[in-house]
């Protein structure tokens, strides 16, 4: 019981943020009298029946971000900085995914149809390998050359998308390709006969994998030790370079999976815009999850909640018919409010206020007794 209370205590900020957003929607629903935001219905068309509704769409659309946020949390904890190239590396992974799925390489095509399962699996594997290699490039700069992550990843941030474009263009002669195939539909949207979006299963799978890794290995202890005090970790037999590289490898896997989820659910892959500004959202998710961006202790759960919070906000604004560009404005305001509410100064102030109230009520009670 105490353990649960402890872990909940650390997750207060993202939980409250998510709760407030949902509450806001509830009030909105009451005021407008329309409960469309909370409605979940079953839509049936020729491809089968699917659950629809804003809540489902939040969980579905957040998938890529949730997966990415998990990887970002690890890198943040181990290296004390963030990888800002994840969007670009995602584009590279996506490019390899599509290239490998493409049956005939010579033909220039703007739409990809009729892919076979073996090719898809090959695509997934190669995408993961590619993302891991590029993340390892970042990792080597960070771990061996001791360059701050943000600076090291600035390199791929500025040229990663061009690399993705270059590969896709060399292989298929296009910079953007539509994906229209039942298999891709099954990966990105729903499997026929299953009413739940596939991406939710992917998130659960990745989450389980992470949980298993944390359960079966010392990754958490090692990562935190390296993130908090690298020298001490080293003197206790931990190899900080390996821990940092490992965190980048795991980020690479997350990036590739996120890129596949995102591109298949959009049914299109554009190297210039796939996972655009995802790096910022992922970092935000980590921060909203009350993780220290300077490294050290981390909570994966916080980052996951943070990612869902960001998506809930987007979906809410969508439901309020805010245009996608001006949405940034409201998003910024909510982010700033969350960060201000979670800032040490404000938190201390709230705690001391709470103590004062407690003291006065206690004093009042004492007086009553007397």
């Amino acid at each position: 019981m105490k353990k649960i209370k402890n872990s909940l205590g650390a997750l207060t900020m993202p939980l409250v943020a998510l709760g407030v957003l949902l509450l806001f929607n509830l009030i909105r629903c009451i005021v407008t009298g329309s409960w469309s935001f909370y409605e979940i219905s079953i839509a049936t068309d020729e491809k089968g029946s699917v659950l629809t509704g804003n809540l489902i769409s939040i969980i579905d659309s957040a998938s890529a971000l949730v997966i990415l946020a998990m990887g970002m949390t690890l890198v943040t904890a181990a290296c004390g900085g963030q990888d800002i190239s994840v969007g670009a590396v995602g584009a590279i992974a996506g490019a390899f995914f599509v290239i490998m799925m493409h049956p005939q390489k010579e033909v220039q095509m703007s739409t990809l149809t009729s892919v076979a399962w073996p090719n898809v699996i090959l695509g997934v594997v190669v995408a993961i390998i590619a993302a891991v290699i590029f993340c390892l490039f970042n990792g080597v700069l960070v771990a061996y050359f001791k360059i701050q992550p943000m600076i090291a990843t600035l390199i791929l941030f500025s040229c990663g998308r061009s690399i993705a474009y270059y590969f896709l263009y060399q292989a298929l002669g296009v910079g953007s390709i539509k994906l229209d195939d039942p298999i891709i539909f099954a990966i990105g949207k729903t499997i026929p006969g299953v009413p739940i979006p596939t991406s939710i299963f992917v998130v659960i799978l990745v989450g389980l994998l992470m949980w298993l890794i944390f359960k079966r290995t010392n990754l958490r202890l090692y990562t935190q030790a390296v993130g908090i005090n690298q020298k001490a970790a080293q003197l206790n037999g931990i190899n900080p370079v390996m821990v940092k590289l490992l965190s980048f490898v795991m980020l690479g896997v997350c990036v590739a999976v996120a890129a596949i989820v995102k591109s298949t659910s959009l049914s299109t892959l554009t190297t210039k815009s796939l996972m655009d500004s995802f790096e910022m959202d992922a970092i935000l998710a980590v921060a909203i999850g009350a993780n220290n961006l300077g490294g050290g202790k981390f909570r994966l759960g916080g980052s996951i909640l943070g990612a869902y919070t960001i998506q809930t906000l987007t979906t809410t604004l969508n439901a309020m018919e805010v245009s996608s560009d001006s949405m940034k404005f409201y998003k910024a305001i909510v982010i700033i409010v969350i960060m201000v509410a979670g800032s040490p100064v404000v938190r201390n102030w709230i705690v001391s206020l709470g103590n004062k109230i407690k003291m006065t009520t206690r004093a009042a009670r004492v007086k009553e007794v007397e």
Binding site: K215, I228, N229, A233, Q234
Partner: protein
């Protein structure tokens, strides 16, 4: 300072300070006279640092009053700036200057009015001050290029130039070698003669007697008393600090029986060298306690780091229990049954944000391997056992180690290594910066471990400690081993002579 009036520059009366859970200061009085060096003594948690932080405005006081000479009425100190303005300057253990600025800038930054600064005149003035105080630095030099001692002296020069009446030196000598300490003492005496009142906080008893005029002792947040140095012999001082009678102090001289060890060689190195130290030969027997001694920077820490593989090993042959071993990183050393408690606890030892439990099991966990995490129950059992065995004072296992006192942090690190049951344990300055009581506990523990068959290397800058615990001393100078002392040779004089060696 013959004709200096015995006039108080600082008077603190009835100072109280409460923290959640503890009463850090309870009705403490303190008086500092003009032109005296006043040692403020006490064990960890006695309230020295709290008193100083109250005085410098880092903490607000709950009750009591402070008067400073030259300030009308009670001094109101709400921030470090306030303290500076009324003439109270502090030089901390960690250098609190900016390494990326020049010496002159460090002297004057934060004290100038108006948006513009005339650096030319500042440089000139700095050069004058440095020359008058005999500090070997140049005004335009970047501070990071100066040695630690010089940086310390620049910090003092800054305080002096601010016409401070009260100069607080908080553990200024802990990272200086003997020669540098002498330089610092020279500067302190010079300032005393100019009428500055100096509050000197240190853990080194000899230094107190070398330089102070007067001693105030605190214990558990209360004032024990104030004595002129001549009236308080060293043993009595320790007794006052620990709150024990003189009779109990016999213990101090004989912590226990020294252990010479058996014939079995546990560890042997021939021509071992690393990027930081020159080749050296070394061996240690089962159950033996030996020590490396020498001045700071003589290579004693670097040598044990090489044994543990903490620096990059560049050559040499190592035998562990008669078998060849390659120890080029800490993990290999740990696997061979070697443990290492590093010199700088804060930098190399503790993982501050992790809990006491995690800090205790860290080394054992690493030895078990990446794919074999211990269960929660197992960890808790281990942590519990050692918290009890070493009497670690912590609120719970889950308390972050960073919030423990220095001595308890050190015990946690010690527990971490004891838990791995090493055959050979290296303790580099295990008693640095911790209170006398814990120091004794650690020394006793070392002898007990040796008795049980563990080989221990014990390094300390306090020679008495080493004389009390070690049966063999290896003396180093300029990164070379210059002597090995055993048995009757183990006297302070002999050690000094060996350290000083052929220089005459």
């Amino acid at each position: 300072m013959p004709n200096m009036e015995n006039q108080a520059v600082l008077t603190m009366r009835g100072i109280c300070k409460q923290f959640p859970g503890t009463k850090a200061l309870n009705n403490v009085d303190f008086t500092l006279r003009k032109g005296e060096i006043h040692a403020l003594m006490g064990e960890n948690g006695a309230g020295k640092s709290t008193l100083i932080k109250v005085l410098t405005g880092v903490y607000g006081k709950d009750a009591g009053s402070i008067w400073v000479d030259g300030t009308e009425g009670e001094a109101r100190i709400h921030s470090p700036q306030d303290a500076q303005n009324i003439g109270i300057s502090t030089v901390y253990q960690e250098i609190t200057l900016c390494p990326n600025l020049s010496v002159a800038e460090n002297m004057f930054i934060g004290r100038t009015k108006g948006p513009f600064v005339n650096w030319w005149s500042r440089n000139k003035r700095t050069t004058e001050i440095l020359e008058s105080l005999n500090i070997p630095a140049r005004a335009r030099q970047e501070l990071s290029q100066c040695s630690l001692a010089v940086q310390q002296m620049v910090a003092i020069a800054r305080a002096v130039d601010m016409n401070c009446k009260v100069l607080i030196l908080d553990e200024p000598t802990s990272s200086l070698d003997e020669h540098e300490v002498e330089m610092l003492f020279g500067l302190m005496r010079d300032l005393r003669d100019r009428g500055v009142g100096i509050i000197f906080v240190t853990h080194f008893l000899e230094q107190v007697y070398a330089v102070s005029d007067r001693i105030t002792v605190l214990r558990n947040g209360e004032l024990v008393g104030e004595w002129p140095v001549a009236e308080l012999p060293q043993v009595e001082l320790v007794a006052r600090m620990m709150g024990k009678d003189l009779d109990d102090m016999v213990d101090l001289d004989a912590v226990g029986e020294k252990s010479v060890g058996s014939d079995e060689t546990v560890y042997e190195a021939v021509g071992l060298s690393s990027t930081e130290c020159k080749p050296f030969d070394f061996q240690i027997h089962k159950g033996e306690v030996n020590g490396f001694t020498g001045l700071l920077g003589s290579g004693r820490s670097e040598s044990v780091r090489a044994i543990f593989g903490a620096d990059r090993v560049t050559g040499g042959m190592v035998m562990v229990k008669g078998q060849h071993a390659v120890i080029n990183k800490p993990y290999r050393a740990m696997k061979k049954g070697i443990g290492y408690l590093p010199e700088d606890r804060k930098r190399d030892g503790i993982v501050a944000d992790l809990s006491v439990r995690e800090n205790i099991i860290l080394a054992l966990q690493v030895m078990k391997g990446f794919f074999h995490p211990m269960s929660r129950d197992e960890m808790e059992a281990f942590a519990d056992e050692y918290i009890k065995a070493l009497q670690i004072k912590t609120a719970s296992q889950e308390t972050p180690i960073g919030s423990l006192s220095g001595g308890n942090q050190q015990k946690v690190i010690l527990a971490r290594w004891l838990l791995t049951h090493p055959d050979y344990l290296i303790l580099d300055e295990p008693t640095r910066g911790i209170d006398v009581g814990t120091k004794l506990e650690i020394q006793r523990l070392v002898l007990k471990l040796a008795e049980e068959g563990m080989s221990v290397t014990f390094i300390s800058s306090e020679i008495e400690e080493m004389l009390r615990t070690c049966s063999r001393l290896i003396v180093m100078r300029d990164r070379n081993i210059v002597g090995e002392l055993t048995g009757d040779q183990l006297t302070q004089g002999q050690i000094m002579r060996t350290i000083a060696g052929g220089e005459q």
